[in-house]
Symmetry: D3
Subunit: 323 residues, 6 copies
């Protein structure tokens, strides 16, 4: 990855925000592949001399599935026109009524993918690939009902670790972030509550439900976790983005957590679309040496956008504005 | 009708959609008559050397009523400033707390109008006119609660036939399409279920409720029925448009039905307005010889818009993309 | 019917109620036939030298169906062990996922049965029999969703007339009584609202929903209609019984209606059972010359009970205690 | 106030509306102070040689608080960067989990402020200032749950008078306007219902809930009260603005009330934002001699906007279009 | 009151409960007066050489009203057959759609009555009598929506003090106890929260809502307040009774509060009736010298019952089992 | 266990039911220990020369906890007065806000206990004991929200196997039975759906939710699983009991399942209590040689009862009455 540069734009003049939007957002339009109604809530990683990704493309029947894609610069993407076809991983094939909201991370020797998998309701599907061409599906991590399963990019205490948000089978009114561990990506346990919603008076944008977003980034202070928070307004849910820092060794310990949001729906493409007022981060590319991060997020459940920030500033802001 | 041309624009270059929007949408603005808050969900038919229509105009007290209107070209409309005043048809005058979402069709010797009639809640009102000047109101077709009553343009097996969507008295969470028959436009029976919502996994845009739209069009394959489908998102209902083909003689038999939508809310006037994210078709003009159809639909419960398509393509698409 | 006596017990001493309970209630226990979980909400009529009836027997899978039964004295019943099997009446066989809450009445030459029929949700099924052995099923009277369809025992202005309670497909929170007419028991129209729920302050026991009960009885003052009324307490619905008198010729006109209930759940068998606190009348035998009426009602959705009263007193009470 | 001119723009040509929007709306953007997520639902009054105001600024944690601000022309505002800090008024300090939706009026010797105060849920907080620098907090007027407390600008029959809207502790589905009186701004009583929601058929924009807006204006015909009304659409609440005239001496008597709305959400800044489709008036500047009024309203719960009208026309319209 | 003995029975052998039931409960049956459907949630006080009371009698239309009654021994009651007719107290007559759940207490020179008064929803009505024959109605204490208004039996710091439970207008899902003060029984202020529901894990019987019951009793440790607590089971609300001790001078300070209930619905008359599983205390007679208390409570919203206890034991238990 | 006899009574004369009740039910009253409000939903196993059990005893604060108990005959129980105190099992101590609905089974060398454990909502707690004196608590099996975790009495394919019912955090409206596997009682995976609710028309008593009951019993035909099923009536949930037979080697395969219930709430102690109309089985003792089974079930969430049956008859009935 040494010679690859992640997408980047400098902070606009007069802008004092911690995260700022890519000027040509959305970077992926709703109809970027022929069948798609919308492309959003997707994940990207460095891959070979560029980037690869797994994209949520709802088709025009509004069926939800995940698709592989490739890019040289992280902004212009070629997305496959057919959804990923999985082969058997560590088990026989698991029923999958739908797949959405993927995350991707590289651990040891392969790229692991987690997503919301339709198995008698939403739960966390797991798969892997070595090359983004051949994909293998493993056991679901959990019983339904669960969403927003996000793997840590390395084992912790010798075990795989995953964040998730247990919930119910509809438009869930509640949701907190938990962590679970597995010795083998097949059996999961040691479930711990990591972070709950906030009291309305303390930080209303994250008072209804919260869920992990991109794969956590290891920084000096611990695990930097971008996450989404939801407020239930009289006209529906509004999804914004914040950040937290979890303890490196015991990531169920929250060290810091932003009271203000980092990004909330304010632009036309975030406020108007299939589901208005949604900013939903699912991936982040970062460069430690350049002190840069590019956060990929779904906007209005319709398109894909990018926001930029300085890693060091985000960490500092999270510490200084912690609840 | 021979010499009258229905509104038409050719498919834009690079557009591969089955339906495409009129470039000057909306064709009727919300304040097209002095009293109106919004004009949408309206019906038009060929009439004399042009077109006539019945329009839903909500006034600034947001009272719902239907108005007559006339047009030479089907795009520029003169709408009466006063709502339709009905005289007694086949019964004494029926209570009508409100009227909305009209459909119009010509059968035998007159233009029949059906609408959602406020009688202790929504049910299906029926009326007729010979000239769009004098209107007569008949018995309500059904008990409350019902909406989206759509007559077939000819008798079937000697009886009038009507599609409708039984429901409840609020923001109905469910709704399927039924058919009923009448020997006399007064007594109705032989109620049959025609088409139900789809499983979320199969076609989510029509998984919450569905309702008939324009008067069905007789094509070689059967009755072409445009309809609306609704998905219940976490930020409210989203209304899209699809098509089905019903058996000519037994129209409670669905032969084909689009898994993808034909049109969904994507433009500013469909996404932003009194009720965001609504595409709601209520009428269609077609020319068999020219292979054209112009679908009239309400947008965002605020304005009226038109979309065009080729009849033959729509039928082919419906067959090839059927559930 | 001259020589047949309807069931009867004199009013107990010190009792001042308009209706009083049979001392050996319930007259039909929940397990009166081998398969039954509960027998309630059932209808009886004079038949030959005794009585016949159609009974709602839920089996131990809690499937709802209707069964024929016979009695010499109206109190001791032999109920068939198998549900009624219908043959085709005025149409091909209608789908019937379940049948419950039957009413029976004799018109002209046969016994007509109406019940709540499961056709994509509850609606009103209609059938007839000449002998309670051979049964014929006709078209459903209405679109779903409807319950408590009750036929008048004679034609009105040359047409069949039916009361019903349009509603939705769950544990309906609302419900008013309507009337509809049919020239032929196949097509129905002229739907009119008869009677609505009352304001909480005026008569709370009938403020949530109401529905017709037994077949109306023609008395001098008009049609005597027993009906059930429901209050929604913090611990669920409570069903009581009242009476109204409808105009003889225009039965959508309510002349009188009891502000107090006539009977409410107060005994063990009415208060404790599968659904606590339910008194639900479905039939009434009456003798004009003896000035007697015996009302059959389901208790706690579990058993069948009888209450007695004097026709003249009930009419007088209804007039004097009218809302 | 003689030499101070309230903000004003003449009615645009071809515009026939009673209220028309300021051409450079919104006058206050969401990020007008560094910490703010949104600035809306705010109040202004003439003050010294210009204007002062109390502004609802939600910060980026979406905490709600009120801020002082000053303006020479009523359009360009300098808002303090820190929220108002109250000192003890007529009691020890009252708990205040949040403050929002302020109103301001001058009575006798000081400026009184009322707002929605978080005390175990929303209720009406009261405070005063002489100079918009030093602020004093008094007893809450009422028990929770209440919102939209609006003081009359003078005593009535020797007592302070306040409009309010009792409600519950969530996204209230109902709400009517009441009036209460106090001899001392500490103890309140003589609670009377002033104005309720309208039947859906009569005026749907105000059928779900209503609440007082700006401080009432004394005109010849009585108290001119702008208020908001809410309709519950299938995609959430829509807030519009109307006007009523209350009796001068017995302001619980409504003399006139607009059936049509005066302003409804139609522009981009009213339709798109944190809570779409909200027009929410909280203040009005008026000049009797110039026959002008400038209404300040929150738009989409995000920004602050102004609309203009002629006092005499508004009164005339209210009388002529009264329900 | 010296020579009058309050009702009493000794604790049964083997009973270790703090409160024990009267052996002949219920002491007032549902039909104790001719018009009544149920008599419950009522209040009694010592009066002349016996006792007087104000009783909630719902009639057979389930209209709610309050009736005066008298008793020599506190157990056998003569209740008036007509509801109390109020004259004007400190204001013109207040609208009263219904009256229920009265409390009575003597302060200074008269008996004050508070009840749930129907004024556009439930709020707290206030009245007084000197002789239980002539009654006077005052201003409602609060805006709607409120229930369970209970006056303290003496002024506190020179002001009348009242407990109440603000809520909404339906089957309220929440409810805490507040206190308010008035200099004159007309204007009320200084509203403070006294006591909230408990976390489910801590004391589930009072986790959904709580409300004050009888008039508080002054004991050495402060004000002994019996109250009801509610748990929301999957089959509805269950109402039990507990006790708290409030600070004598600052009664918004809770000194002790029972974690266990004192009485919960366990007998047939508490578990079966119009609203199953309700124990609802509204009055208590006590004798300090005899160390006795008799608590009057409504059972199953149907009948009136009594439980006995030792004042000293109750206080001790409350202190030792406090949360 | 050879010489120990499980509790038993012969089927009463004239009784044709598959399960019949113990004549002295309930065998454990609600106040069997001093602190208890109710004792129900409890589990028993053969132990030494008699029986041991783990009992759900809610105390009078309605706090839920589990208690050990012992019996010689399985009917007369000595229950400890203090709840079980767990020591650390295979992890540090897990938070446990409450414990309820235990199940117990012996596997290999110890008695395993599973229960509903309060960890940020309900999930499945696991512990073990060798002697019912010293108890050890292990990792929770799953993330919240889950209930009714039931272990198989032997490993399947070398792994522990557990049934459970994922759900949400309130009075869950839905619920199906799943199975999960663990190599070590710490990490769980291979989650499979076993059995779902039935369509209302097919078997209404189990149409709302279902959950495993006693530890499955291995019979020739597979695993005999008693379970509870719930119907949602207009007056709340009603819990009944049925039986299913799962494949011995692949217990996610349902071979048979009773369409009728085996036992439903019909007696006073099942219909009246803290939660009316509940029959909830949690344990079963069986004797293969004697062809007997004694099912222990909670009644009305208040007391503990027993029902008897013949193993062979139950299996036969389940096969012959399978859905």
């Amino acid at each position: 990855m040494a010679s690859i540069h992640i997408p980047w734009q400098e902070r606009p003049k007069d802008c004092k925000d911690i995260l700022w939007r890519h000027t040509d957002n959305p970077i992926i339009e709703r109809d970027a592949i022929p069948s798609s109604n919308s492309i959003f809530n997707s994940a990207v990683v460095p891959f070979q001399d560029g980037f690869a990704g797994v994209f949520r493309c709802d088709n025009k029947a509004v069926q939800m599935n995940i698709f592989a894609g490739f890019s040289k610069n992280g902004l212009d993407w070629e997305i496959e026109h057919d959804p990923i076809k999985f082969k058997e991983g560590n088990t026989q094939m698991i029923q999958s009524d739908y797949k959405y909201d993927p995350r991707v991370t590289f651990i040891e020797d392969r790229y692991w993918i987690s997503w919301c998998n339709g198995y008698h309701g939403p739960t966390i599907g797991i798969g892997y690939t070595f090359d983004f061409k051949e994909f293998f599906q493993c056991e679901n991590a959990f019983l339904p009902f669960n969403r927003n399963g996000v793997l840590f990019p390395q084992k912790i205490d010798g075990k795989y670790a995953m964040l998730s948000r247990p919930s119910d089978n509809g438009h869930t009114q509640f949701g907190d972030i938990y962590i679970s561990y597995s010795p083998d990506m097949k059996y999961w346990g040691e479930h711990r509550c990591v972070m709950k919603t906030t009291p309305f008076e303390l930080s209303a944008w994250q008072c209804a439900k919260i869920g992990a977003g991109p794969v956590p980034i290891l920084v000096n202070e611990g695990w930097l976790m971008f996450y989404h928070g939801v407020i239930n307004t009289c006209n529906g849910f509004r999804y914004s983005m914040g950040a937290a820092i979890l303890d490196r060794d015991n990531p169920d310990q929250v060290k810091y957590r932003t009271q203000p949001y980092l990004l909330s729906p304010q632009t036309q493409y975030e406020c108007v679309g299939d589901v208005p007022n949604v900013v939903f981060p699912c991936a982040a590319l970062h460069s430690e040496e350049e002190d840069r991060v590019a956060v990929y997020y779904g906007a209005a459940d319709t398109v894909t956008a990018v926001a930029y920030g300085r890693l060091s500033e985000i960490v500092k802001f999270t510490i200084e504005n912690s609840i």
